[in-house]
C-alpha cells in the first residue's frame, strides 16, 4: 500500500514563503530601489534629475577612476586564475588521502575576515615587514622601501583574497569532467604536456571563465583592501563611493557611482554569458 504524503496546501505554501519574500523586499529590493531613487535626486525641487550622472560622466577624473577600476579587476583576473588553475587541477585529480583536508584548506580562507588578511599583507609588505627585511638582509636593497601601499600592494592582497573563489569555481567544473578522457589520451601515447594542452585546457575553458568572471566582479567591488592598502593613492569606484558617502556626504552622487558600478557588473555578466554560449556551442 502506498500512502502519498499530501501535497502542501496552497495557504501553507504562501505562509512558508512570505517571511522570506518580505525579508528580501525590506533588506534587498527596497534598498536598491531607494538607491536608484536617491541617485536621481535633484539639488532643488522634487522632480527627478540626472544631474549626478551628468556630473559623473562629464568629469574626466571619473572616467579615469572607471578605467582604473577595470584595469585592477583585469589584473587580478590575469594573476589569480593561472594560480587557481593548478591548485584546482591538483585537488580534482589527487588520489591522496589528504585531498579533503587540502580542499578545505584552500577554501577556508574565504570564510576568514578580509580585514584580517589585508592586515596580514600590510605586515608582510610593510617597511619592517617580511619582504623588506629579507631583501635588506640578502643585500638586494640598501634600505627598506615602501611596498605596503599603492596599486602593487592592493593587487597582491586582492589576488590572495580572491584565490579561493577562483579555486572553488574551477574545481567544481573540473570535478564534472571525465577523468577518463585524459587517461585515454595518455594511453594513446600523448605526453603530459600534450594531454594538458590539447585535452585538459580546452575542456577547462568554461570553468576558467566562471572563475575569471567571479574574480573580476569581486575585485571591482572590493573596498577594504584598496582602502587600507592603497595608501590614498588607489582610486577605484568602490573607494570613491565610500568617500562620497562618508566624507563628502553627497548621497545622490554616491548613488550614481553605485549604479554605474552595478551597470558595469551587468555588462560584464552579459558579456560572459554570450562568450560562454559561444564556447559551449563550439564544443
Amino acid at each position: 500500500m502506498r500512502v502519498s504524503v499530501r501535497k502542501q496546501p496552497s495557504w501553507l505554501q504562501a505562509l512558508l514563503i512570505l517571511p522570506g519574500v518580505a525579508a528580501l523586499v525590506v533588506t534587498f529590493v527596497f534598498p536598491l530601489l531607494w538607491l536608484a531613487r536617491t541617485s536621481l535626486q535633484p539639488t532643488t525641487g522634487h522632480t527627478l534629475s540626472l544631474h549626478a550622472y551628468v556630473r559623473l560622466f562629464e568629469d574626466s577624473f571619473y572616467w579615469w577612476v572607471i578605467g582604473r577600476t577595470i584595469f585592477i579587476g583585469l589584473l587580478c583576473v590575469v594573476i589569480t586564475v593561472p594560480l587557481a588553475f593548478p591548485v584546482a587541477l591538483f585537488l580534482a585529480r589527487s588520489q591522496s588521502g589528504w585531498r579533503g583536508t587540502l580542499t578545505a584548506l584552500a577554501i577556508a580562507p574565504l570564510l576568514t575576515s578580509t580585514v584580517i588578511r589585508t592586515y596580514g599583507w600590510m605586515v608582510i609588505l610593510g617597511r619592517h615587514g617580511l619582504i623588506n627585511t629579507t631583501l635588506v638582509w640578502a643585500g638586494i636593497l640598501a634600505q627598506p622601501t615602501r611596498l605596503d601601499n599603492g596599486p602593487f600592494a592592493t593587487v597582491v592582497a586582492l589576488v590572495e583574497i580572491l584565490l579561493p573563489y577562483g579555486i572553488i569555481s574551477i574545481l567544481s567544473h573540473l570535478s564534472r569532467l571525465d577523468a577518463e578522457l585524459e587517461q585515454a589520451a595518455s594511453l594513446l601515447g600523448a605526453r603530459r604536456l600534450q594531454v594538458f594542452w590539447h585535452v585538459l585546457l580546452p575542456l577547462s575553458v568554461p570553468g576558467l571563465m566562471t572563475a575569471s568572471l567571479l574574480v573580476f566582479v569581486l575585485a571591482i567591488s572590493s573596498l577594504v583592501t584598496p582602502q587600507l592598502m592603497g595608501g590614498g593613492r588607489v582610486f577605484v569606484l568602490a573607494t570613491e563611493i565610500f568617500n562620497q558617502t562618508t566624507i563628502s556626504l553627497d548621497w545622490p552622487f554616491a548613488g550614481a557611482l553605485s549604479i554605474t558600478l552595478l551597470a558595469f557588473f551587468g555588462i560584464f555578466v552579459a558579456l560572459y554569458q554570450r562568450i560562454l554560449q559561444r564556447v559551449e556551442s563550439q564544443s
Partner: protein, 265 residues
C-alpha cells in the same frame, strides 16, 4: 622514469608555493602576534603572550566581540528560520513562478556588497537605524538568506520521502512527522546553514563600514579602525583570536556536509 619524477616534484613544489601564498597573511599574523614591540616588524624580537593578555583586557575589543557575536547569532537564527521555511515551499511547493522565486532568493549573492551597503545606508538612515544593532542584523539577513535557503533546500531535496510516508502510515500527524522525522534528518543542513550565516555576518566588513562604526562596532570594524592609525601586535593577537573563533564553525561544517558544498562549489 627519472624525468617523470622531476616533473612530479616540480608540480608539487608549485602547488606548495601557491598554498604558502594563500596562507601567508594568516601565518604571518600568527607569528607577529607573539611579539612585544609596539610597532610592526618581522621577524619578532621575542615570543610572549602579552599582547593576548592586552586584547582580553581591552574594553573596546571586548565590546566589539560581544557585538559581533550578538549580531552574528541573531542574524543567523533569523536567516535560518526564514530560509528554512522558504526552502520547504521552494523545493516541495507547486505554484506558478516557483523557479523565478528560487532565483529571487539567490539573487543577493550576485549583488556587490558595496552597492547593497550604500542602498542599506540610505534606507536605514531615515528609519533611525544607522549605527544600531537592529540595523546591522537586518543588513546581514539580506546577505545570509541566500546561503541558508540554498543549503537547507539541498537538504530537503535529498530527503528520503519514504521515511515520511512510513511515519504517516504508522499514524503520525503531519506535524509529528515534521518534528520527529524531517527536522532530525535535516539536522546537518540546518546546523551548516546557521554556521555559514554566522560566519558571513561575523566576518562582514563592507556593509558594516557604511551603516555602523561609532556606537555599534563589530570586530572586523574594530580591527579596520585600529589598523588605519596604529599597527602593533595587539591587533595581530586579536586577529588570531577572531580567526580561531571562525575556525571552529569551519571545522564543524567540513565534518557535517563538507566546506565546498556549503560555500557553493
Amino acid at each position: 622514469m627519472k624525468h617523470d619524477r622531476t616533473v612530479r616534484m616540480a608540480w608539487h613544489l608549485l602547488i606548495g608555493l601557491i598554498y604558502l601564498f594563500l596562507l601567508a597573511p594568516l601565518i604571518i599574523v600568527l607569528i607577529v602576534s607573539f611579539d612585544t614591540r609596539p610597532y610592526l616588524s618581522f621577524p619578532p624580537a621575542s615570543f610572549s603572550l602579552i599582547s593576548y593578555a592586552r586584547v582580553l583586557h581591552n574594553p573596546l575589543f571586548l565590546q566589539a566581540g560581544k557585538t559581533s557575536l550578538l549580531i552574528g547569532g541573531c542574524s543567523a537564527v533569523l536567516s535560518l528560520i526564514v530560509g528554512t521555511s522558504a526552502a520547504f515551499a521552494l523545493v516541495r511547493g507547486h505554484f506558478p513562478g516557483r523557479q523565478s522565486l528560487q532565483w529571487f532568493f539567490l539573487s543577493p549573492m550576485l549583488m556587490p556588497h558595496i552597492v547593497l551597503a550604500v542602498g542599506l545606508m540610505m534606507t536605514l538612515q531615515p528609519l533611525g537605524l544607522l549605527d544600531t544593532l537592529t540595523g546591522l542584523i537586518l543588513a546581514h539577513i539580506s546577505i545570509t538568506l541566500p546561503y541558508t535557503t540554498r543549503i537547507v533546500s539541498s537538504g530537503i531535496a535529498q530527503l528520503d520521502r519514504t521515511l515520511e510516508e512510513a511515519a504517516r502510515i504508522h499514524g503520525a500527524s503531519p506535524w509529528q512527522s515534521f518534528c520527529c522525522v524531517i527536522l532530525p534528518a535535516l539536522r546537518p543542513h540546518l546546523i551548516t546553514g546557521f554556521l555559514i550565516a554566522f560566519l558571513f555576518s561575523f566576518d562582514e566588513a563592507v556593509i558594516a563600514l557604511f551603516i555602523a562604526g561609532h556606537r555599534a562596532v563589530t570586530l572586523p570594524l574594530a580591527i579596520y579602525q585600529y589598523i588605519q592609525f596604529r599597527t602593533d601586535p595587539q591587533v595581530a593577537s586579536l586577529s588570531v583570536l577572531v580567526v580561531l573563533l571562525s575556525l571552529v564553525p569551519i571545522i564543524i561544517i567540513e565534518r557535517l556536509i563538507n566546506l565546498r558544498r556549503a560555500v557553493g562549489g
